[in-house]
Every structure is written in C-alpha cells, then in structure tokens.
Amino acid sequence: MSFLSRWRARTRTWLRRDVVERDLSRELADWVDELAARYEADGCAPDEARRRALVETGGVEQVKDQVRDARERWMLDRAIERLRFDALTACRSLAATPALTAAVVMTIASAAAINLAMVSLIDRALLSPPPHVVDADRVFTVAMHAPGDTGGLRTTMSYPSFAIVRDQVPAVSAAAYLRDTMSLVIDGDQRRVNAMAVSATYFSLLGARPAIGPGLIAKNDDAAEPAVVLSHALWQSAFGGDPKVVGRRVSIRGVDCEVAGVMPDGFSGHSAVGVDLWLPFAVAFHGNPGWDRDPYRNLLSTVVRLAPGQTLEAAETQATRALGSPTTFDSIVGANVGATERQVAWWLGAVALLIFAIGLANAATLLVVRAARRQEDIVIRTALGASRGRLLAQAIVEAMLVAAAATALALAFAIWLDEPIRRVLFPDVVGRSDLARTTLEAAGISGALAFAICALTAVWQIRGSLPATALSGAARRSGRTRALTALLLLQTALSTVLLSGAGMFGQSLRKLAAQDLGMRMDGVFIVSFEQGPGDVPGRNEILAAALEKVRALPGVELASPIDSLPFTGFNVPPISVPGRAEPPRIGEQLPYLIASTPESLKILGIEIAEGRTFTAADDRGAPVVIVNDTMARVVWPGESAIGKCIRIGFDDDFDPALSVGPPMPSDKVPCRQIVGVAHDVRQRSIVPVDNEAHLMQYFVPFSQVPPPPFPVASWPEIRGLLLRTSTGIETLAPQIRRIVVGRRADLPFVRVAAYTASLDRQLRPWRLGTTLLGLFSALALAVAAMGLYAAFAHVVAERRREMAIRIAIGARPGGVLRLILRESLSTAAAGVVAGNLAAIMCGRWVQSLLFETAPSDPMVLGFAAAVMLTVALAATLVPARSASHADPNILLRV
C-alpha cells in the first residue's frame, strides 16, 4: 500500500512536469505568434515577420532553459529555507527539554566512547600495520623451528645467521634488531630508554625516513658511525622538541654519539611496541667484541621484506634451505603483543559492544520519555496544520543533531580514555599519536546507529500520536513495558556481573597485598644496575664506594649491600648436614641462601624467633648462619637448631667435569654454627600455593657467602644496595644516581626502585582485572543508572493520571514516592540476583586467578548488590519525587 501510493505520487509529479513543459511551449508559441502578427501588420512578409519575432524573443529554447533554471533555483531555495526552519525548530524543541536532551547525548556518548577507545587500541595493537612502514603486508618477522616435532620455536638468531638470511635468501631483504633498556646520558644525567639496536638495513627495509636529520646512514654494521635516532616522544620529553637537536652529543653504552635524527610522530619501528631510540649494533655492543662473529650469541631478531614478485612460500623455502632448519615468516601486524593481552582485549571489546547496545536502548527509552513530554507540542502543531511529513522531517533533524553531538562527545571521551586503558592493558604499545582512520570509521558507524535509533524512536512516536494509531497504543503498551523490564533486568544484571568481577579481583588483590610475607617491604628501596649484556665491570667497587656516601644522605635511615633477596633473585649453593647422606630438601627444592648484614635484616624487619641476629663482629668472625623456622623444623624435628651446624658451598677441589649428581660439601668445608632461627620469609611466589609459604632459607653474613666454583673478579658480589628511607624517594633517587654514576657515561641505568616493585609482575593479572573491570563496571553502572532513570521517568509520565487520582483521593505524597521506589528497587533487586548468579557461574572461569576469594564471596556479592541498589535508588528518586508531587489539576486538563 505504502509502496503503491508512493509510486502513484511520483508518477503524478512526472505527469505534472509534462504538463508544465507543454504549457510553457504553448505559451511561448503564442508569444512568438503574437509578435509575428504585429510585424505582419506593420507590413513585413510572413517569413520575415516570424524571423524578427524569434530574434526579439531571444530563442525559444533559451527562454525555456531560463524558466527551468528559475524553477530549480526556486525549489533549492525553498529546500534550504525548509531545512533551516527544521533545524531551528529542532534546536528549540531539544532546548525545551534540556535535561533529557543532555541525558540522551551523554548516554550515547559514554557508551560509544568506551567502544571507540577499544577500537582505537585493538586496531593499533593487534590489527593495523605499524604506522610509517611502507607496504607493511610484505614485511615479516622470522621464526626458526627446532628440527623434528619438538615444537620448539626460536625467534632470535646470531649475527652470522642473520647475515645468511640477508645475503643468501634472494627472495627477501633482511634487517636485524635487538630491544634493550639502556641508559642514555644527556648532559651528565642518566635517562632510562627503551632502545632498539638495529642493523644498517633496518630503516631502509621499512621504508621509513626521519622527520628531521639524515638518520643512521651506515653501510656496514661493524663500522657504523656512533649515532642515535630519537623517537618523536623522546625528542619531546628529553629535548623539549628542540629543532636543532641534530648534531647534539649524547652518550650511550659509554659511546659518545651524535643525534642523527628524529623519527616521525607515531613511528615505533616494525611493531606497535614503543621504542625511544635507535642505535647501530656497533654502539650497542661496544665493549662486547665478537658480537658479529659468534654463532652462539642468539640475541638478534630478524625482519624481512619480500622482494617484488616473490611469494611468501618461495621465500620461506629459500630461508629454510639457507639456515638449515625450518623457517617461517609471520606477519608484523600484532607482532610482539602477548597472548593474554590479546585475549583480554577481545573480551573487553565484546563487553564494550554490549554496553553500547544497552546504551542505545536506554537512549531510546529516554527519547520515548522525551516524546511523551513533547506530545502536546506535536498535537498543537498538527492542529495548526503541520503535515506528518513536516513533523517527521523535524524529528529526523533532531535525531541527526543528537547523534552528531553524541558522536563528537564520544570521540573526545575516547581520546581521553585511550591512554589510561593503554597503560593498563598494553603498557608496551606506543601511545596514540593521531586519530586513526579506523577510529573515525567506528565513530561514523556508532553515529549512524545512534541516528537510526533516535530517528526510529521518533518516527514510531509520531505514528503513535496520530489519531488512527492512538487507540491501538494501549494494546501495545503492555508489550512495551515487558520489553523495558527485560532491558532493565539485563543492564542491572550486567552491571552487577562487572561489579562482582571487579570486586573479586579487588578482594584478591587486597588479600594478596595484606599477606604477612615475613618481612617489611614498605619504605624499602633497592639501588641496582639495570641489566645489559654482560656484567658491569667494577660493579662491586662502584657500589661499595657508593654505599658510604648513600648512607650519609639525609633521609636515608639504613643502607646495606645485597646479593639476591627474595623476589629479586636467588642463590642456592650446595648444602650438607653432618650425619646425613642427602642434602635437606622440600620436594626437589634445596634451601635458599640469603646474604645478609645486620642492617639488611633490620631493614627487612626479619624476626628472630630464637637465638641471636648478626652483628658487625660476624663479618670477620667464625662462620655462622641463621636458619628459618621451616628449615629448623624439617632438619632438626623436635629439637632446637641452635648450636647445630651445616656446611655450604663447593669443595676447593670441586671440578664440574668430574662430579656426579648434585654436589654436596664434604667435611673439608668448615661447618657453620647456627646462631639463630628466623621466621619464614616468602621467597619467590606471592601466591602461597604448595610449599611456597614454607621453603627452607638460611641467612649468611655478607662477607661469609661461599664463592662459586669458578674464578671471579672480586668476592663477595654486591648486586645492589638496600635502603630504608624516611623521606620520599623522588628527591633521593637523582642524588643516589649521581653518587653511583659519578662522571662515568658507560654505566647501565641505575634503577632506584621500591622493593615492592619486584612484586609487580606477579600482581599484574589482579591489577589488570581490578582496574579494567572497575572501569568497565563504572561505565556500565552509569549507563544502567541512566536506563533506570529513563524507564521510571517513562513509567511516571505514563501513570501521571493514576498518581494524580491517588493523590486526589487522599494518598500521601510519601506513599506515592514509596510505590515508585518499591517498583524500581524490586526490578533492580531482580537484576542484582540474576547478576550475582551469573557472576558465580562466570567466576568459575577465573577461579584460578582468585586468591582466597570464592566467586560466591558474600562480601563481594554484597558489595556489588549494595552499589547497584544505591545507584538504582538514586536514579529513580528524581522521577519518583516528581510523581509524588503530581498535581490533581492535570485530571481536568488531560
């Protein structure tokens, strides 16, 4: 029917256009005839008269064209005029309900923002080729598979192997790289940078050029100029974006280098993982000769580019033949991003989509409420003669305005959200430099969806307000209410699930952090060199010299040299107990040695349960040891360990080539007396599974630690300094760094880090879960709050008469308020119950990640329920209050 009528209308305009054209032709013919008749009357011959008439007219066809032009211009002017009017009316109409309009825009914007941020992140980290790489689909990373079916995979190779790929695989060009954190010395101050050492072919292979400066232009890897290239970010942060940075001198790995260029903003090499600085291998391996000849130093990763016309299969075959082991090339898209992060990102993307869907549904509900308020306006305009078309046009313009505003706001939110989410989810991935096209496309799609929802709701509403369909509205209402209730249940349940998830992870994190690890970690800091290739020459002397000066710094309470502490490293020398054939073990694990000083035991607050602690005299005294509770209990059950003795270390004549089985010190090694028993300290796992909370440990005076069975430069080894400070570390760290480094430029970066930072890696899953689920649940809650508000505002609007009647016949406003709140809270409560049940079920999937927290933890579920119900109460209080003030007068008006 609607199709037919539309078709008929269209044919009519065609016919009319015909009529118009015919009329015009006739009219002009008449005009020419009349002019010609006049010339004839003046005495012209008929042909001449006609010619003159045509000349005077200026050509019939030209006049027709001019008339057509005039008509078209007139129609265009009218269309613009109409659009202007519609836009103005739409703006006025939107402004008439400012709170509801803002609510619709904010709901769509916040639901879209999280999606845009996720799209931007997932696109950058996993889906898009890295920026500024030419033809990135022909660039690959190289992996070598172990021969046979062992499944072994190697992604690094030696320089000679790389040279084989570069020189003997004609189907590709190749470049090698090595990532490392290094210390960049600018004007005498150390700065930690994520550096990438590269072969001479690296930049040309990617097709990337510096934005400033010539870049690294070496021909050979072994004779490269000492130069570095900066990332845009490092140029900004370390050099303040100085345009004259090229040519400045910096020092890295002890080599004085020239800054040879700055890469374009957003460039991060062949992957999305951020790099601060690029340097030639010759600089990175300075002081490590043989790096380009030793076939066993498998440190380098290789990227290749397919030569024009070559296929991937052919190149892989050539590489396999040249290297002598099965070799595959993998896409650089999403390279170097961990599998867990990948999975979490996709999951969050799915949750974000769900939030978007719910946000749109809520926006629709809000628009229905808004339409109910604007009903009178529509009725009045209809009565004044506005056609249905005009009303629809205005509604569509309104929808366009709302969708455009929401999308613009969503983009702004997304830009703001991008960085915090990236820091948690993809800490290594380079930050956003500009808006990717994908993000803008996603914004376009979400804007179009928002527009469609707004426009459809408006159209539906206008149809409903026309007399013919108004009667059937009552019948539809019950169906609509059911759908609305289901929607509310869904979003309160989703919010509850996310809240419960955040609660579970948060509770786990809290309990993990609250554990008694047997030592004090707060306010304790470790000063150490960041590891580079090989050892730091003269480390012991540097740190020993620094110790005294650091101790003297104001704010440093205690300082001690350390070897390896729990969570930072380990030392498990051979051990034997007199009278026992086997070394003491728990499972397969031998006891851990912790090199200690009186100060380090004090700094860590290690409690002595029995006997004594170390004193300064132990440094030069008889060999002594303190064992922990577990060791005392396991080795000497039922008796005191004090006064017993153990042997540790290697025999002087120990030869690894001749030894069979695990070495045990013989009675040639002096037996050290146990002078104390300390409480257990957690050694390596933050989660106390199996025996982790009760491993055997013993403490040995720092100077008495037995040496390894091979010659070392100086003994005992000082791997770092342990500090307890009374002031913040921010001011101390640069001073300490200056003390340790002195005037040297060849030292690795000096890390001054909280001891608790050594737990970061282990705590990451819980932090990730807590932060991201917290963020998502906050968004879901905001969306759900808006949904509840909208729904109950809608209910109140529809039941205004009922409320007014109740008040008219004597109901107290408080009673009406309670009635609405009871309905809202019972809906929310049903959602909470469903959400809690779903959380318990989903909780099973993450059970292995929870610590001393069951998915059915009443604290967590109660917390989620309380937050959700509070939000529901707050969201419905406004419409409920307006209902309780329903004016009985409206009964007379409506």
């Binding site: 009329d23 015009l24 006739r26 009219e27 002009l28 008449d30 005009w31 005839d33 009349e34 002019l35 008749a37 005077e56 007219t57 200026g58 030209q62 006049v63 001019q66 008339v67 032009d69 005039a70 008509r71 007139w74 129609m75």
Partner: protein, 108 residues
C-alpha cells in the same frame, strides 16, 4: 533615454502592479510595462517568463488558459490575494528606499 537594466526584484514588483489592474497574458504584460514606464523598461521573454513562473510557484499569481483581447488563445495571469499583500508590503518599502536614495543623491 535608452532602456535601462532592471534592478533585481523590481520586475516582480512591476508585474504584480500590472496584474493588479486585471488579468493579462505575457505580451500584454510586457507591453503594459513598456507603456507605463514610457519605454524605460523593455521586458524580454528571457526575463519575463522566468519571473512569471517564479511568481506562480510562490503563489503570488495564478495562470490559466483564456483569450487575449486580440481574440487569440493565451495564458492569462491573475494576481492572488498573497500577491496583493506582497505588492502592498513591497510598495511601502520601495517608497521608503526610493525616498532615502533620493535624499542621499540630493545631499550635495
């Protein structure tokens, strides 16, 4: 004095004024304008017909087939009520503008 070019919008006004006296067809409208302005404005078909059609689309005049005074068949135009209202409003504002311009021109 040679025929001068028409100010934009002036033609509409002249047509409406001409039709206010009674229904006319295209040639008669052009004749009447030329006659009234003593040959100052000579209206060509290329200006007259677009103007007539625009005015018709705006609802200020209405066209219909009838007979010209010569007895020929012709499309006759009639001014509508909206056209008269427009003419009245425009005449008033034209008088104001004309007076103002005259004052400015006579200033020196």
């Amino acid at each position: 004095m040679p025929p001068s070019t028409l100010l934009q919008g002036t033609l509409d006004l002249l047509i409406l004024r001409t039709l206010a006296l009674g229904p006319l067809h295209g040639v008669a409208i052009a004749d009447r304008i030329k006659q009234v302005t003593r040959g100052t404005f000579e209206v060509k078909a290329g200006s007259l017909f677009p103007a007539l059609h625009r005015l018709e689309a705006d609802g200020r005049i209405r066209g219909g087939w009838g007979a010209a005074p010569t007895g020929r068949r012709a499309k006759l135009y009639v001014i509508t009520r909206a056209g008269r209202a427009h003419l009245a409003a425009e005449t008033k504002s034209w008088a104001r503008v004309a007076l103002a311009i005259q004052q400015v021109l006579e200033m020196s």
